[in-house]
Structure formats: C-alpha cells, structure tokens
Symmetry: C2
Subunit: 205 residues, 2 copies
C-alpha cells in the first residue's frame, strides 16, 4: 500500500511476470492457442509450478496478459506503417494493412489467440479498449485519405471493409489456404489494389 507505482524490477527472480508471458507467447506460437500449460511455462521460466500464481490469478489471466502485450505490438506496428507514407495517402492505408498481415505471418499462433480468445473471455475492458485502439489506426488513415472525420459513417464503413479484407487475408495466409487460389500476387500490390477499390470510389453525400 505504498504510493510507489509497480516498477519493482529485479526482485527475487528479476521479472518473472514478463518472463512467464514471454514463455507462454512462445508456447502458443509452437503449439497453438490451447497448447500451453501453466506448468510448462513455469518450467521454461525456471521456477516451480506454483510460482505463476503469485502473479496471475489463474490460467486465463495469463492468456489475457499475452493478448494484451501482443495487441500493444500490433498497434505499434500499424502506426509505424502509417507513418512511413504521406498522411492521407492510399499508401499509408495499405501500409497499415501490411503491418497487420506481417504480424499475423510472424506470430500466427498469437494472432489466432488474439482473435479467438474464448476461454479467458475477451470482453475484458482493457482488451476491448486495445482492440478499439487498433481499429482507430485504420480509421484515422481512412479518414485522412477521404478528407473526412473518423466518426463519419462513410469512413467507419469503409474502414471496416478494409479491416475485414486484411483480416481475412491474414488468416488465409497463415492457414495456408491462400495457396488454393493459384494466381497469387504479392502482398503490397494486393493491398494497394484493394485499398484503391474501396477508397477510390466517390463518396456518397
């Protein structure tokens, strides 16, 4: 009950909490969203199987920790993508999508976990807020491109279309379903084509 924030690095272990999250992240990556156990994560962090319970209430809470951390990275990637191109350009929109797809490709297990969280009910307020934050990046890039405000109906619906699209492509890619369509083109051409198709049409008044 001190007024110090929870900085407290390097206590006994160092930073077990962060190491557990990293261990779980890795396990999820290797064995899928449900392919991890608290025991295995503890083993990897070099602690007893009871130690994790000093940092997390139960198994789902650990999963939520992993998701939270992953969403931070996803958002950072999307923002970096947008920032790499002129504000308001279609390229900036496509780059946000590219960052999304890259994340999915780099960490398919975690990506699946982020969007398939059923056990640790994903309706936790902080996760909900982070999701909103990620969509906000798409929303702003879209708004800038259309010269409208982010809360405009037209912006909302076109941003959602882009999101659906990129989300679907991400999943099909990591599930290797995209090989079903034989004539594949590269990501960037693809994202630009779709962004143009969705943003390039006249805005209805």
């Amino acid at each position: 009950m001190t007024d110090k924030p929870a900085v407290r690095t390097a206590y006994h272990h160092g930073d077990l909490r962060a190491q557990l999250i990293e261990a779980v992240r890795d396990l999820v990556e290797r064995h899928g969203p449900d392919g991890f156990s608290v025991a295995e994560a503890a083993r990897r962090a070099g602690v007893s199987s009871a130690a994790p319970y000093k940092h997390f209430k139960d198994r789902p809470e650990i999963l939520r920790g992993v998701v939270s951390e992953a969403m931070d990275r996803l958002r950072a990637g999307m923002e970096a993508g947008a920032a790499a191109y002129p504000h308001g350009s279609i390229e900036a929109v496509a780059a946000v999508g590219r960052a999304y797809v890259s994340f999915a490709r780099a960490e398919p297990g975690v990506f699946r976990l982020v969007f398939g969280l059923t056990e640790g009910h994903a309706d936790a307020p902080d996760l909900q807020a982070k999701g909103q934050g990620c969509f906000g990046v798409v929303l702003h890039a879209t708004a800038a491109c259309l010269h409208l405000q982010p809360d405009d109906r037209e912006v909302q619906s076109r941003a959602y279309m882009l999101w659906s699209f990129v989300h679907g492509h991400s999943f099909l890619t990591i599930d290797q379903k995209s090989t079903v369509a034989s004539a594949r083109i590269d990501d960037w051409t693809y994202l630009m084509t779709v962004s143009r198709a969705i943003l390039g049409q006249p805005v209805q008044p």
Copy 2:
C-alpha cells in the same frame, strides 16, 4: 476383404460413427475447437470410452471427420446461395458470400475449427480437396460475372479478394469485433457493396 462398399448402417449401435461426429461437433460448438475430449463424446453417444477407437484411429482423426462433414455443408450452402440468383449476376456472388457468413454465424466453433486445424494437420488430401471445392464455387460465380474462364488470372485474383473479404468479415462477426466499428450496415448491403467494388472495375487485358 469383401467387395462390398462400407455401407453397413445399423450394425450394433446404429451408426456410432455419425453420432460421434455429431457429438464432437456439438462439443466444439460449446467449448471451442480444443474443448472436447474423446471420453466426453463417447459419453454423449452413450458408449464406453473405448468404443470410438473402433471407428477412428485417434483423437485427431475424429476432428478431421468433423471438419470434413462441415466442409460438405459449407459448400452445399454456398452452391445453394449462388443458385438462388441469375447466373453471372453480382447478386449470385454476394449470395455465395452470405452463405459463408451465415455458416460462420450459425456454427462459430466449427467454423474456427475448419480454418484453424493445427493438431490434426489440415493438409490431409481429402480436406485439401474439399477446400479447393469450396473456393471453386466462388471462382465460378466470379468467372460468370466477369465473362471469363475460372482459370483466368484476373478471375483468380478477384475471387481471392472476395474470399479474403468474406472470410475476414465472418471472423470479425463471430468474434464480436465488428461492433468496434460503430456504423454497421446489414450483411447484404455490405456484401453487395464490396462485390461491386471488386468486380465492378474494368478488367485489365
């Protein structure tokens, strides 16, 4: 080793194999892709926990059975969707997408399983073929709409775009992520808008 095909309905149990698949389907629906056990499925079917092994080699094989059956239904739904509108119309394309989204909404757990199968490695040839069959429905509707052949590059890439889109929308819907975008419009308007955006542009020679 008789030359009879494996018809053999109503033996001892009746048709345990089908009942097990149905039980697992239901469990996956209730508890997610990994939330089922062979034991629980057997219990539901009213047999001992060893009985399933007379019909399936192991746990993953049961899952593959569920996926196979689900893909049959998905394809049938898509074909029915296409058939409900004039051949070559944009409506027919949108209707294929609508069937896909409906399937995801009706059976989110199974839908996730179909596309996230990691354990029972989804590269089984029969499942691969069924996936190809589903995409074929999109491909044919797209080809008819563009007055081109299904193996045309342009058709392939536009069909894949449509698929990405519908696939993403399906996932976002069942994950309730689509509520993040506040200004939601109804499915049909949405599917028609996107189909037009993707198919309505001039075909490059």
